[in-house]
Symmetry: C2
Subunit: 413 residues, 2 copies
């Protein structure tokens, strides 16, 4: 009997308990030599009538001090008190697995160090891409590859909203309302629509890919609140779609370009076909080339199934720590996103289109002009050759009678 | 220093040596605590002038009897002498990793048993999907899922040929010639075009997914040699493409439908977008839903990078065996493919189209008629509701003056 505890009986936590309880015989028969048993559920609430009511405790110390508990699944979210609880559990020699991307992105390095010191595992497959296998493939299957680039659609809420804008011509506000009505967006959608959630995830991927800690606070994240239907239409005109893309890319100078922002994704890219609440991640390794992972990036049972996979792995490796982690932050590794060249999509309001077009060509050289039906005749939209954002802004500032309406990078994938 | 040996200095074997030698510092820094060193290369040939010339031996016993060799990469292909060599190495307490799908599909169960008895690892990530992470994600990341279905494009050669037929309207023979000229098909292309290679791979996936050995000899495999441009055109007419699909699916009666054959893949399926020599595998788990893996299914460095990933994993788990494997064959588990219901695409030569259409509707009930430009007026093509192949053939046999030209299942993914 291997006892486990679950911290937080919300969406993911209750999914973990459900899977461990109902798939018990299956898991033991196929995946694990251990007989997994949920002994405690930590939550501030009571759950009268719930089949697992008797396992609920309000006291973290019940779990911390019970030596029969070997594995703890943390599904509380946030960093307080999740960080303190996780650190104490690891120090007590218990394995901890989690779906908590905020905690892993901000304190993962520290927690992995504590885990190593106490010869236990801290695992977090569910923290990126929900149910999609991502972190093990990246860390183990691609271990012989120097990872050159990762481009991912890492947030289902924003992808759902953008899909509605693209396919049904809804505005951002209308699409957000539908997402909220369907439970895909929270009442306060800030962390999703401002790119904060996706930023945590690209940082975790970059940690593992580059072997050095990436602080989300130093990564530029831009959300989708400013995307308009005009932009969606112009993107469509060049066979593209607008997606919220997390990017982590090695640069020739040894730095890394790490960012989250809306991006123009060409229809040939695997990312273009990732619709609705799904996630998709394209990883480029120097030996393997491009590999692509796709699936449900959130949801109770998909995410919980990834947490339970980590529990099973801990149970199978109780004595032996897995090799998973990364080194400390490298000073100056994250390049200024404004200094990295990208092709850009630019939409302008101009006074005299013919004149403006000539000025733009003089400033940018070759551009690719875009059209949309119903465009104002004072509107100009085009794709540039590769420039840095600083260069683009300087060129635009020097133009006469031109107002910048949209500036969106073109994804390089 | 952890010494390794490579059996076979062909495409994959030489790639393994190249990666271990050139990525040595990178691998040691990021992925492995061990200092990997290629000590022997076994091959019947000499390689005068090759930088690794001095490591080549013709004598397997040099490797078998050298206790400093802890890990052996088998990249010989075939089963003789690969099976005997692998068994002896495992019995001698060495880890063995391989890209040899024929050996894993036919003798994997036996070799895993020997590995377990001697507390070493037998790993084969590269045997399915080349460089695409597949077997670890399936075995570990999806461990909490009961796998319901796997549908995969598992052979790059046939996918390249079909892509040429679909996109450039070339015949099978013309496309095969181009594949051979590009090195994507061998002089004797039988194993690829007859579905034998894909069959080995779907059997390995089924072994891991269902936890029971699946003998490739008991699995129906049909290749793409009979696919015509008429079929390609009709598929296109219903928004579909023809792909060589390996399927392993749980059936309601507890049996499994395991087969490789051409299949009509609807454009909404992730598999439809897998073009050229790429592979793609869609896995459905009862908790996670659909997850999809895509990338290069063959090629020197992609495949070798997966072999090296296994080497690294063995080096990191030298004392502790990984939990990977499956149980013995379950008698009668593989259902008769002719008794499993599928929608079918059927192309007929008929004498009187109007009469035949009425007869067909009487026999099959609702059908979906297809069109193509340039069709003969004695041609009828349609999609049926779900029937077994035996039912379909019995119905067709009962029709008058009708000749069956093509019968292709519609993929359920």
């Amino acid at each position: 009997m291997m006892n486990i505890a679950v911290l937080g009986y919300g969406t993911v936590g209750s999914g973990v308990v459900e899977i461990v309880n109902t798939k018990h015989a299956y898991i033991q028969g196929r995946s694990s030599e251990a007989d997994l048993n949920v002994k405690y559920i930590l939550d501030l609430r009571d759950f009268p009538g719930d089949p697992n009511e008797d396992k609920v405790t309000h006291d973290f110390n019940d779990i911390l001090n019970d030596n029969s508990v070997r594995i703890v699944a943390e599904a509380m979210g946030g960093t307080k008190p999740a960080f303190e609880f996780t650190a104490k559990l690891l120090e007590a020699g218990k394995h901890v697995v989690t779906s908590n991307k905020e905690l892993v992105a901000t304190h993962g390095l520290e927690l992995l160090k504590i885990a190593k010191e106490h010869n236990v595992n801290y695992m977090f497959e569910a923290s990126v891409g929900g149910g999609i296998p991502l972190l093990r493939p990246l860390s183990y299957c691609l271990a012989a590859n120097e990872i050159q680039a990762i481009n991912g659609i890492l947030n289902g809420t924003t992808n759902f909203i953008l899909s509605k804008m693209i396919n049904e011509n809804l505005t951002f506000e209308e699409a957000l309302e539908i997402a909220q009505a369907n439970g895909y967006a929270e009442a306060d959608p800030t962390a999703d629509v401002e790119g904060i959630d996706a930023c945590r995830k690209i940082c975790i991927l970059a940690d593992l890919a580059f072997g050095a800690n990436v602080d989300p606070a130093k990564v530029h994240a831009e959300g989708i609140t400013k995307i308009t239907l005009e932009d969606v239409a112009y993107a469509n005109n060049c066979g593209s779609v607008i997606k919220l893309v997390g990017t982590a890319k090695r640069l020739p100078d040894g730095k890394a370009y790490i960012t989250v922002s809306p991006a123009i994704v060409r229809s040939g890219s695997q990312l273009a076909a990732v619709s609705d609440v799904f996630n998709g991640v394209l990883i480029n390794g120097d030996k393997v080339g491009d590999v692509f992972f796709y699936g449900p990036g959130a949801g109770k049972l998909p995410t919980a199934s990834a947490v339970v996979a980590d529990i099973i792995d801990c149970a199978n490796h109780d004595e032996k720590r897995k090799m998973l982690g990364w080194g400390p932050e490298i000073d100056g590794m994250v390049a200024d996103y404004r200094e990295v060249p990208n092709e850009y999509y630019i939409r302008l309001k101009v006074e005299n289109p013919a004149e403006a077009q000539q000025e733009i060509r003089d400033a940018f050289g070759k551009i690719y002009l875009l059209a949309r039906s119903g465009a104002y005749n004072t509107e100009l939209a085009f794709i540039t050759a590769p420039f840095t954002e600083n260069e683009v802004r300087a060129k635009l500032d020097a133009l006469h009678s031109v107002k910048l309406k949209s500036l969106i990078r073109v994804a390089d994938c």
